[in-house]
């Protein structure tokens, strides 16, 4: 059981979807099935987390030959890095399903289950081709959900996100193939397993191109400045569950990709790219924040906010010191929670007021205090207020930045200011002020509170007692970092 547990975690949602699809399930049984699958996966994720040993690397690994002729194998495993995202996926899915409870369109449910399989698989796979498979798979439901259930220019926007993301994936595919070939050339066998590939030493020049292939894919997914024009339209058009996953999980997978495959395969080359990416990330940090100030669409505003914070995470990743790294990892988790909460709130706003445009909102606070509380809480936790997890992460990244370089530190610390610039003005215009009479104000229902409360509690716990979580990842993170630093240092 234990050695197959990750396989179950990946495929239970897909399996449920297929079975329900074949049975031509009614909407009701579909809902129950989806809910059930998410709860089971959550349980299994909890089992994994409980049995997780923070002192060793890859665990629960399963290595099966898959397409032997091509050297593609089915290798999955979990370590500190994947565990964090795995936990997030497990935790976010049940609330999302509860959120979608009144959704009668079946496609929603099927897509969400497929999406869960996609993201989980991408996080757990340790074979490049397998990873690529899941990486592409998770794009599909997003494509369909934006295109089919979105709003605004959703058809156009879903095509845009699809094409831009696939542009990145294609470049990654190229690199994957080339790496496989290099392995073939050196050993005479085909293999795409990360553990096999990690031992080959690339020629520096080749390595630069190969890394570029990967980085392009991840930079688009994150997105770094310049690769971002899909982001706001996609977030703006996507239905709430999709946008939650987009921001909370998928964007993080860009970071995850660099972490796992970038640092797993070409540590030294990444240090070649580090200055560029650091500069891009710093620009992104400020650029997105400034852009968000005058944004009128809440979804888009928090899309930019997401971009800003993911730039920060990327920055932390490329600073390669323990503080920045653990800050980044911690931020992955906390930002996922906060942005999930935020986008859920925006979704609830839309349900109530039929708009997500700031100019059409206002005065919610006097009519719906509970709504206001949750809304403001998530907004503030995105701004990194102490007491929420985001603060811990930002603090660590800032310290890491100062450890790396004074000026990087100064620019990084502007994150304290940048988020606030748009968030507070937004709060003022949406929640406060005179009530808009045309809106139908109603406070959160109990069901909605049950969706949001776990997120609030988690954010508070991560913010107040981070030491509960840090030991989960700290030992292996340190080891990995030391390995990376050793390789980088060894080359200098």
């Amino acid at each position: 059981m234990m050695q197959h547990i990750l396989t179950f975690i990946i495929f239970i949602p897909l399996f449920t979807a297929i079975v329900l699809g074949i049975m031509r399930a009614s909407t009701k049984s579909l809902k129950i099935g989806a809910m059930f699958s998410s709860v089971i996966t959550l349980f299994l994720v909890a089992v994994v987390a409980y049995n997780f040993n923070p002192d060793i690397g890859m665990q629960f690994t399963k290595n099966l030959p898959w397409i032997q002729n091509a050297g593609i194998s089915y290798i999955i495993g979990v370590d500190y890095l994947s565990l964090v995202i795995l936990l997030l996926i497990g935790l976010l899915m049940p609330p999302l399903y509860i959120y979608m409870y009144h959704e009668e369109r079946k496609g929603y449910w099927y897509n969400m289950m497929l999406l869960q399989t996609g993201v989980t698989g991408a996080v757990l796979s340790l074979d490049l081709v397998l990873f690529y498979l899941f990486w592409e798979t998770m794009l599909l439901p997003i494509f369909v959900m934006i295109g089919k259930y979105g709003n605004g220019m959703h058809q156009y926007n879903s095509m845009k996100i699809l094409l831009m993301t696939i542009l990145g994936s294609m470049s990654m595919l190229f690199s994957i193939l080339y790496i496989g070939y290099i392995y073939f050339e050196t050993t005479g066998m085909w293999s795409f397993a990360l553990s096999d590939l990690a031992i080959i030493a690339f020629e520096p020049k080749t390595s630069i191109w190969l890394a570029a292939g990967f980085l392009l894919a991840f930079a688009i997914k994150i997105p770094l400045v310049g690769f971002h024009t899909w982001m706001a339209p996609a977030y703006g058009s996507a239905p709430t569950p999709a946008v939650v996953i987009l921001s909370a999980i998928m964007a993080k997978l860009g970071i995850y990709g660099i972490w796992r495959f970038g640092y797993g395969l070409f540590e030294s080359t990444l240090s070649y790219y580090a200055p560029t990416i650091i500069v891009l990330a710093l620009i992104g940090l400020i650029y997105y924040a400034i852009r968000a100030i005058t944004e009128n669409n809440l979804r888009k505003m928090f899309a930019y906010s997401s971009g800003s914070h993911l730039s920060l995470i990327a920055l932390g990743l490329f600073l390669t010191n323990i503080y920045a790294w653990s800050g980044s990892l911690y931020f992955i988790a906390t930002h996922a929670l906060a942005s999930a909460g935020m986008f859920l709130m925006i979704g609830l706003t839309y349900k109530r007021f039929n708009t997500v445009h700031i100019s059409d909102l206002g005065g919610i606070a006097s009519k719906a205090p509970i709504f206001t509380f949750f809304f403001a809480f998530f907004a503030l936790s995105i701004a990194g207020l102490p007491g929420t997890g985001g603060f811990v992460a930002e603090l660590l990244i800032i310290i890491g930045a100062f450890k790396a370089d004074f000026w990087i530190g100064v620019l990084t610390a502007t994150t304290m200011l940048s988020a606030m610039m748009y968030i507070f003005w937004m709060l003022q215009r949406t929640l406060f002020g005179a009530a808009n009479k045309e809106c139908q104000y109603s406070d959160l229902t109990l069901r909605e509170i049950t969706i949001l409360l776990p997120l609030v509690v988690l954010l508070l716990v991560t913010g107040i007692v981070p030491s509960l979580f840090i030991p989960l990842f700290e030992p292996q993170l340190t080891t990995t970092l030391q390995d990376v630093l050793f390789v980088i240092g060894g080359l200098k």
């Binding site: 099966l64 030959p65 898959w66 397409i67 032997q68 002729n69 091509a70 089915y74 496609g107 081709v129 690529y132 498979l133 592409e136 798979t137 599909l140 494509f143 369909v144 295109g147 089919k148 959703h154 058809q155 879903s158 095509m159 699809l162 094409l163 696939i166 542009l167 294609m170 470049s171 595919l173 190229f174 193939l177 080339y178 496989g180 070939y181 073939f184």
Partner: protein, 495 residues
Amino acid sequence: MIEQLILALPMAIVVIGAFVLMLLSKSTRFNLDKLNLLAVLFLAIAFIMQYFTLGNHTIAFLFPDVFGESFILDDFSTIFDMMFTGGAILTLLVNNDYIKSRQYYSTEYFTLILFSVFGMIMLSHAHELVTAFIALEIASLSIYALAGYHKNNKVSSEAMMKYMVLGSMSSAFFMLGTALIYGVVGSTSLTEIALYTSSHTIDEMTLLIVGASFIMVTIMFKIGAVPFHSWVVDVYHGAPYPVTMFMASTFKIAIFAIALRLYLVNFAPINSFWTEMLQVITILTLLGGSWLAISQKLVKRMLAGSSIVHSGYLLIALSSIGLGSELAAPAIMFYLLAYFLSAVGSFGILSFISVHSKKQMSYEDFKGFAERRPYMALMMSIFMFSLAGFPSTIGFLGKFYIFSAAIESGQILLAGLGIMTAFISVYYYFKLIAMMYFYPSQTPQKKLTINVSTVLIAVMALLVIWGGIGTSLIPFIPGADGFIDIAKQAMSSLK
């Protein structure tokens, strides 16, 4: 002797079937359904026999005392045969409803299909250039006639006219090449040619190279490589759906049967001469094909344009062979399999839809298709994924192999271009998916029809998926590895 007869039987059955159907054409007791069944029966018997001869060829040539070395028997050709007969069976079965819905179909349709299958089988077995040429002509002439089968439709006639004029033009080049090679070698037997090419240096073989190049022109024409592509889109468009399906999948593969045999065995020593030419053609094909595909509004034309792109991918692998890639040959074979499955499926769905509508399906017509026919839409999406090379489909593994081969042979730029065109192809394939899924339907959902066509299309879809993710860990069911093994087996028998 008996053994040899048995080996010759599949081919014979096909041609006998053609005769029988021809003779039955005036009988009133046989309606289209029965004829169809009969044709499928003949093909199925041939298919089964081909399957059982696979892997145990004790003799290399059929009736060497009579035919000389002009009819070869190996796994390579047998696997191609199976694709031809299989393709024809699928064409007939999937389009059963279609041909019943159109009044212009008559018995000659089956005869011509069987004749062209016969031509293709001959083509894959031919070990002599004149035989190959005649076989190619049999297949081509039948398909010319088939392309114009809907005679009251000017578009169909026009397609036939274009195809015939240009096809004959390209055949002339084949013949010219054959003549030149005959002039050099003194024989048109591939054995002799192989002997000649392996015993001479490139500088001594000027005329042979010229001849072989003219043969290659024909092959390029038939697979639709740019600049010999111009007929593809129009003919695919003009021809009736079943014929387009047959052309796009089966006939295109048949060309590769002879192309690979020539290229890999007989002309192997002069491959290096072609590399640059082939690369230029490949680049043109990839770009031109995707340009054509992206600017189309009709789905059929888009698929035609994209079939040019797929030829481009195959050409990448072909030029990789010349550069000494070991992967490339099985890659081509596997890609052909992949493309075969996906193309049959996608054209099958198109013709299935056209049973009830009399107009060409444009992108716009697919709006709301997912609501009208959710299962069909799902399967169409699967075929589109496969054609676009989306992972978890067989198309992905095909591209995977092709690009690996290109990288292996050092054609980094070609591999890069291939990946770029694959990226662009995502646009025009996913546009269809977008049309199907993103728009509400004007008409209510149609009832799920379960008949031969739909079941077969579903099987194709499953095969497409299984060929991409299937694992051989499950006992008795070969997965993606099984397909690759077939491809490898075919290629290894060639040497």
